[in-house]
Structures are given as C-alpha cells and as structure tokens.
C-alpha cells in the first residue's frame, strides 16, 4: 500500500507539472491584465503602464515567467494577484468556504444514494422503485441553476412565509454583520439557515445520479452466486444484503463519489454563484479569468488538481478496504 501510494503521488506530480505548463501557456497568450486601464478616462500615464508591466513580470520571457512561478509554487509561494494580494492567502479562505458548503451536502448525498439505490434494487419493479426512479430522473434532468433558483423562490419563500419570519436565507454564509451584535444560538441558527438551501441543492442533485449507480451495482450483486450461497447457508435476507451484497456493491459508487468530490473542491461554480458563497469556483471565474490573473488561475489549478489526485487515491485505498481481494501493493 505504501509503495502504491508513493508511485501514485510521483505520477501525479508529473501530471501537475504538465498541466500547469499548458495552462500557463494558454493564460500567458490570452491574458492582458493591463487591458482594463487602456480605456480609463483620463488614460493613466505611460510610466504607470511601464511600472505595472515590470511589477507583474510581463516583460520577461515566457519560460522565465513560468520558471519564476514554478519555483515559487514549489516553496508554497503562489505569487500575488494582479492587485498585489498573496494568492496562497486567498486560496486558503476560498477553500474553507467551498469546504463548508460541500462537506455536509456530500455526506447527505452519499447516505441518500446508498439508501435509495439499495431500496431500488431490492424492491426492483415494485411501486417504490418506480416512484424513486421517477424522482431521481427528474432531479438528474434539472439544471443546477434552475433547481437552485426554484429552491430560493419557493422553498425559501414558502418556509419563511409559513413561519412569518426569515428562517431560510438565500445569500451568503451568515447575515452580514450579525457577528457584530449577536452570538450563541442566534448566530448559529442564522448560519444553519444559510447552509440549508445550498446543501439541499448540492446534495439532491449529486445523490440522484449516484443512486442509479448504486442501484445497478446492487442489482448485479444480488444476482450473483455467492449471494445465493449465503442465503443457502442459512443467513437472514437482511444480513446477506447488508454484509455480503452492499459491501461489494459500494465499489463502483466509491469511484464516482471520489472523482466528483475531488472536482467539487475546485468549486461548485453555479451553486456558489446562486447562493453567493465566495468559494473556489467564483475564484477561478471572477478573480482568475475575469481579472486576467495568471497566478490566480494557476493557484486554483494546482489546489483543485491536488484534491482530485488526493480523492482518487482515497478511492483506491477504499477499494482495498471494501474488497479484501484487491491488494494495492
């Protein structure tokens, strides 16, 4: 297992190197962080442009720029944004925002996916299976931005109207400035009220697709010989399904979940935007691409790539835990 992990990590370092070089080249060719100043009225003096070009290193050769960035990144220095803020500082806080938003949602989605998938498989073609299948396909078909908007409009609006006060919130992580004059339960219930909708939105949409994986994996397993053998040996139905069936049927879901969660750390772009959480997705789109900021894009790339690699690794290790026949070494 140890050597396997090391091998995987070394391989991913090369992947990261290549992708960072590629993205650096694309950004360097298309970004002009000075563009927004050309049309300012009055136009800034030439000395301003010359100074900014020098400060951002735009006059250097492409390879020199990449080398400077790379050596910095290796020592944990991701450079500064075009506005002079250290990227590493921003990445940290952005990552926490995204983390706060997705973690609970993913736990709920995994649990739901397993339950719904197993029920669908065990009661295949029964009424409950049809109802769940219908609901799940409905969720899969819903675009994120629309589902989130519906949640805001009807669920938040409805619940708040019902109670006659603001219980569910649609913007941000907490009522702005609340921490200045409230604490304890008021603050926590407020944060919870802000967390509900993004969590529901992310969890329901993610769980929908996963439950189908779980259902078909479970169906495969239920039809296998060892399940029949387990029953023949006198184990109860429930025990065969949970101990022998579910455990094996979790392997495909593990891969899907690990890949998805890994990429999600790069930002749930639409959910973040709709619910105004300033996380990783917004960071890439607005601060990075929107501001023509090469260090931001590269910093984002590196961090989100590390998460993808990390979660893939976790998936591989979980295989071994779930299926003793798989030996990673």
């Amino acid at each position: 297992m140890f050597f396997f992990t090391i091998r995987r990590i070394i391989a991913s370092v090369f992947v990261l190197l290549a992708s960072s070089f590629l993205v650096f080249a694309l950004c360097a060719a298309s970004f002009d962080p000075l563009a927004r100043y050309y049309t300012l009225q009055p136009r800034p003096p030439e000395s301003f442009f010359a100074n900014l070009r020098e400060e951002l290193g735009l006059d250097d050769n492409f390879f020199v720029r990449y080398w400077n960035w790379l050596t910095g990144a290796l020592t944990g220095d991701f450079g500064e944004t075009v506005n002079g803020t250290p990227v590493a500082e921003q990445l940290g806080s952005r990552l926490l925002v995204t983390g706060r938003m997705i973690l609970l949602a993913m736990v709920i989605a995994i649990v739901l996916a397993i339950i719904v998938g197993v029920i669908g498989a065990v009661r295949q073609y029964k009424a409950s299976d049809y109802v769940l299948t219908f609901l799940v396909y409905l969720l899969i078909a819903l675009p994120t931005f629309w589902f989130a908007a519906l949640l805001k409009e009807f669920v938040a609006g409805g619940v708040n109207d019902l109670f006659g006060e603001q219980i569910l919130y649609t913007i941000g992580e907490e009522t702005p400035g609340l921490a200045l004059y409230a604490d304890g339960w008021e603050l926590w219930s407020d944060r919870l009220g802000h967390l509900v909708l993004p969590t529901v939105s992310l969890a329901l949409l993610a769980f929908a697709a996963w439950s189908r994986f779980q259902r078909s994996a479970m169906l495969d397993v239920l039809g296998s010989d060892y399940m029949r053998l387990a029953r023949a040996k006198g184990l109860t139905y429930r025990r065969t399904v949970v101990r022998h069936g579910l455990r094996n049927a979790l392997i495909p879901l593990t891969t899907v979940v690990a890949l998805y969660v890994g990429t999600l750390f790069g930002g749930a772009i639409i959910t973040e935007q709709v619910f105004v959480w300033h996380g990783m997705g917004e960071y890439l789109i607005q601060n990075g691409i929107g501001n023509n900021d090469i260090n931001v894009v590269l910093g984002w790339l590196l961090v989100s790539a590390v998460f993808v690699v990390l979660f893939n690794l976790v998936a591989d290790i979980l295989y071994a835990v779930l299926d003793p026949r798989i030996r990673l070494s």
Partner: protein, 579 residues
C-alpha cells in the same frame, strides 16, 4: 438496514468533519456597539462589482467601483457630484465656496476648511492633508520624486504649490497652468479624495512611493481605521472571506447623520437573479445591478414593498469609424453611414425598453442630462436620411450592385464590419438594429464580437492597433469633461492616445487646448459645445445613447436616490433612515 460499525464510524467522521468545518466560518464575534448618536437600524447594500483587494484609491489595485463606494463616506472631498450631474462644493468640509482666480496665465484656488473638521483620531483636517494629497499624486516619474504606481497624475501635475495659512484651515492652491477640471481634484466623487497626511506622509519620496504602492490591503483596512467623513470602516468589520464590510458612524463626524447604526456592503456578484431574490426576501436593502430587461420588470413587480428607479448615467455608447480604412477614410462614406442610421429606432429597441426617458445622444462632450448639454447635431443627422446617404456615396464614385450594395471601382464592395465587445447583449442588439438600416442605404454591415477590442497595440485587431473598420463601445466619463481631450485630439505620430478613429483637425486641437485650461464652467461649456459641432463635421464618431443605471431598495429605507456619477448609489447614505 443496519450499518456495520466501520461504516457507521465513517459516516460519523464525515458528519463531524462537516460540522467542524462549518463551525470555523464567519468572523469573530465582536461586541455589539450601540449607536451613540441616536442612530438605529442597518441597511445592507448588495454590491454587484468585484470585492476590493485594496482600499487605496489612487493605485491600480484600488481602482474599483466597490472601493469608491466604500470610501465615499470616509475620505473627505472638496466638491460633490450630484444626481443631476451638477458639481457643488462640499459644505460639510468647507466653510465657504472655494474661490477661483486666473491672472497672468496661472490659476489660484483658495479653500477654507471648517474649523470643526477633524479626522476620526481627532487630528484636524488641514492644508497639510491637501499638500500631501497633491504631492503623492503629482508625478509618475520616480526621478522627479514621483511614484509610478499612481494611476492618475492629471491635474495634480499642473499644480505648483499648495500652501496653508490660518492654522492650516485656509488652503491656497496655485497652478502653473490653468486646469479646467480643478473641482475634480481633492475630491472623492471624481476618484481619490483627501488623504490623511499625518498617517501616510514620509519625507523620503522612495519610502513614500513604496507605501503608496502597497496601498491599503483589504485584510488590514485603512491606516488607523481613519475617516474624515460620516462613516468609518473599522478593520474588525471587514470580512474578507464573506466579502462583507460594515460601515459604522464615525464618532468624530461633525456634520449631520448618519442616521443608521450600520451600513453593510455585501458583495453579491453580478448575477441579476440573486439581486432580485435578495431584495424580494428582504436580505438586501439596496441593490444597484446592471440593468437587464427582465430584471427591471421583476423588481417593478415587487412594488410597493420595493421601489426602483432608472436613470441615465455617465457611460455613453457610440460608434467609431477607423478613418484609415479605405472606405471610411472618405468623409462622404462616414457621413452616409451616420445618416443611414435611425438612431431614434436604435434607442427605442435598446435602452428605450427600460425607460421612456431614454433619448438619442446628440453630443459627445456632454450628456443629455447635463446642464451644459446642447443638441449640436446638424439637421441631416438628427433623423435617418437614406436618400442623402445614397447621394453622398454616389458622389464618391460608388455604384449600386445587383444585390443593392454599393461598390467602388477601387475600394470594392461597401462591406463594413462593426466590432464590439464579446458577450454584451445590449451592444449586439444595437448592431443588429443597425444592420438593416444600413442595408437600406446600400451599406453591407456585419457584427463582430472582438475579444481583443481593448487590448494593447500588440494585438492586431485592437482599437489601439487600428485593426478595425467600425467599433461600438462606451466611454465612461465624469461630469467634468476635460479628459475627453485624449479621445478627440489629433494623433501625434503613432501615439493615438484614445483617438481610435485617428481623426483630428488643428482647429479642434486648439479649441481643446482652451477647453482643458478654462477653469470657468460657463465659458468651458460654450467651448465644449463648439468642439462637438466641429466633431459632427468630421463625422469620425457617432454618439448613440447614455447607458441606464438601476437602483432598487426596500420602501422602508428613506432617502435613497440614484447618483449615476462616480459618487455612486451610496453618495447620501448618511441621510438614509429606516422606518
């Protein structure tokens, strides 16, 4: 169904992890401060532009609308830009209207600061602050004691001296050469504002430049939480992760207001649906989004709980012709192009959809709602004139081809590509309305979204490099108009400044020279309109319309009024009250 111990443990760890992560969010619980001056209530303003990374307004990093909105009630300034685009002296800071004298080719302004005007740390606001504000912005050349990070030296570079008398409460500013937009200097409503010398000054210009370059990073806030206005931004009230700043009343403020206990500025991004749903749910008090048709309609549907207002701002759309293009070098073609346009219809199909107050802009120097505005356009351009357009083209040797498009024996068919910025529906619609109008006059126009339109000369299709035929974009201006010189003065060799149509005459240049050095507003207005009349003769650019701005607010908040100048929607926030 039963989980095994291990899977239950896994789930439990996940849930616990999520809770822990959720717990480390948010800012520290600061003690609630009670409004000491009888203030009550809080208003949340939904900021649609990027959260600022730096609060120092005179450098690139602080050059953002969001910074200007925050600083509006913090840094003092000499003149204010009012919603009707008039410019008035700030009687909170100044005891009387500043005087203006122009004798012997120089200009002298005398400002009298109110005795009670102090910074939030108790230091009086004096001539030293004026002197420092000037010194820190007068030059971009380090060799001359300047600082290259400074975004604009315009105006300040013409000042010779700033001197104080009467304990620093009288400030005498002497210009080497007169400067027309003097009211915009030492004034936050036109960029910048008066800086606190006692916290920022350094005798060594190199050290000073270093500190100016670093500016005021948002994570640190303003130096000593300084304020010279009604609001104060305490460093602990900045939540960088949540992109929220909370302004509280400046305890040392000597003027009226603020009436609110807190003014919260929360960044909500530029998604219009978010803004509308936020104001609908009551989470936001005031929004100032880019107007879009469905957005405006949705907000209007929220009356009477939410009130809204459309106004026309300082940004105007216009069409530029590249006078180095073989077709458009011919003035007859440019005139024909302009005559073929039905600008009334263009306005009706675009900004006219928002408000029946939308008008065709008939002037490049002044905006429709400015007191100086005159419709300087000659009659033949006031309305569509296809007949005359065709005649002009025929005079220049064009003949109508079988498809109705004019062809020139040397220049070929009259195909004109109109470039504009990518992903801008308003501009796309504008060009789509133009195309059939131009076709009537035998001009084959096409739409082209050009991502490099504002790039530097190294991108061949940029405006700066001249790689376009016609271009549709906007200039964002100020009620003070001297800066338009760089758009309409003749290019000097390769240096086109901002004159992308590359057209100019010595007569216009000479008038502009007077325009930018005429400190008397009335005399300047006359010159401005005179220049614009000459610009119609050159027909290198066609003004179209002013862009609308849109403000919406809870009806419970009293006193909100749009100010579409750089002063912004929070310009009078100290007078807001909550019912």
């Amino acid at each position: 169904m039963k989980f095994s111990k291990r899977s239950a443990a896994l789930v439990a760890t996940g849930v616990a992890g999520a809770l822990v992560l959720s717990a480390c969010g948010g800012s520290d619980d600061g003690g609630g401060e009670d409004g000491s001056g009888g203030q009550s209530g809080r208003v949340v303003f939904g900021e649609a532009t990027d959260f600022p990374e730096n609060l120092f307004p005179n450098i690139a990093a602080g050059n953002a609308v969001s910074t200007a909105n925050i600083l509006n009630g913090i840094l003092p300034g000499t003149f204010n830009a009012l919603p009707d685009f008039s410019v008035e002296y700030n009687d909170n800071l100044l005891a009387e209207e500043p005087t203006l004298e122009t004798e012997g080719g120089t200009q002298v302004n005398v400002y009298t600061i109110r005795d009670e005007a102090v910074w939030s740390d108790g230091t009086p606001i004096t001539a030293d602050d004026f002197e420092f504000t000037w010194r820190s912005s007068r030059s971009g050349d380090p060799a001359a004691g300047g600082c290259a990070s400074v975004l604009s030296t315009t105006g300040y570079e013409q000042i010779e001296s700033v001197e104080g008398s009467d304990d620093g409460k009288t400030v005498t500013v002497t210009y080497a050469t007169p400067y027309a937009d003097w009211q915009g200097l030492f004034s936050g409503d036109f960029g910048g504002g008066i800086l606190p010398a006692h916290l920022m000054d350094d005798e060594d210009p190199v050290a000073l430049c270093e500190s100016l370059t670093a500016g005021w990073p948002i994570s640190e806030g303003l130096p000593s939480d300084i304020s010279g206005g009604p609001w104060q931004l305490l460093a602990e009230n900045i939540d960088v992760g949540g992109q929220i700043v909370v302004l509280t009343p400046n305890p040392e403020w000597w003027g009226d207001g603020p009436n609110l206990e807190q003014l919260v500025i929360q960044n909500i991004g530029n998604d219009p649906t978010t803004a509308v749903q936020g104001i609908q749910s009551g989470e936001l008090g005031v929004i100032y989004p880019q107007p879009q048709l469905d957005l405006v309609e949705q907000v209007q549907g929220l009356e009477p709980n939410v009130e809204s207002e459309i106004t026309f701002g300082l940004s105007f759309e216009h069409l530029d012709f590249n006078t180095q293009d073989p077709h458009l070098a011919d003035i007859n073609v440019r005139r024909a192009f302009a005559m073929a346009l039905d600008r009334e219809e263009i306005v009706e199909q675009t900004v006219g959809q928002f408000s029946s107050d939308a008008q065709v802009l008939q002037n490049r120097i002044y905006f429709n709602n400015q007191p100086q505005y005159e419709a300087t356009a000659p009659d033949e351009y006031q309305t569509q004139n296809v007949e005359m357009a065709r005649q002009l083209l025929e005079q220049s040797g064009y003949t109508a081809g079988p498809d109705g498009i004019y062809v020139h024996p040397e220049r070929g068919p009259l195909n004109i590509q109109i470039d504009t910025t990518a992903n801008n529906p308003l501009r796309q619609t504008t060009i789509e309305v133009m195309i059939p109008q131009l076709r009537e006059a035998g001009i084959n126009a096409t739409y082209n979204a050009n991502p490099d339109i504002f790039a530097n000369v190294d991108k061949p299709t940029s405006l700066a490099a001249g790689g376009f035929q016609a271009a549709l974009f906007a200039w964002v201006g100020s009620p003070l108009r001297a800066a338009t010189q760089s758009i309409y003065s003749s290019p000097q060799g390769d240096n086109v400044q901002q004159n992308y149509s590359r057209q100019g005459t010595p007569e216009i240049d000479a008038l502009f020279q007077q325009f930018v050095t005429e400190p008397d507003p009335e005399a300047q207005a006359e010159l401005g309109n005179q220049i614009d009349a000459l610009l119609w003769e050159q027909m290198a650019t066609v003004p179209l319309y002013q862009k609308p701005t849109f403000i919406a607010y809870q009806s419970a908040i009293e006193g909100v009024e749009d100010n579409s100048t750089q002063a912004g929607p929070l310009w009078n926030s100290e007078t807001w009250t909550l019912q």
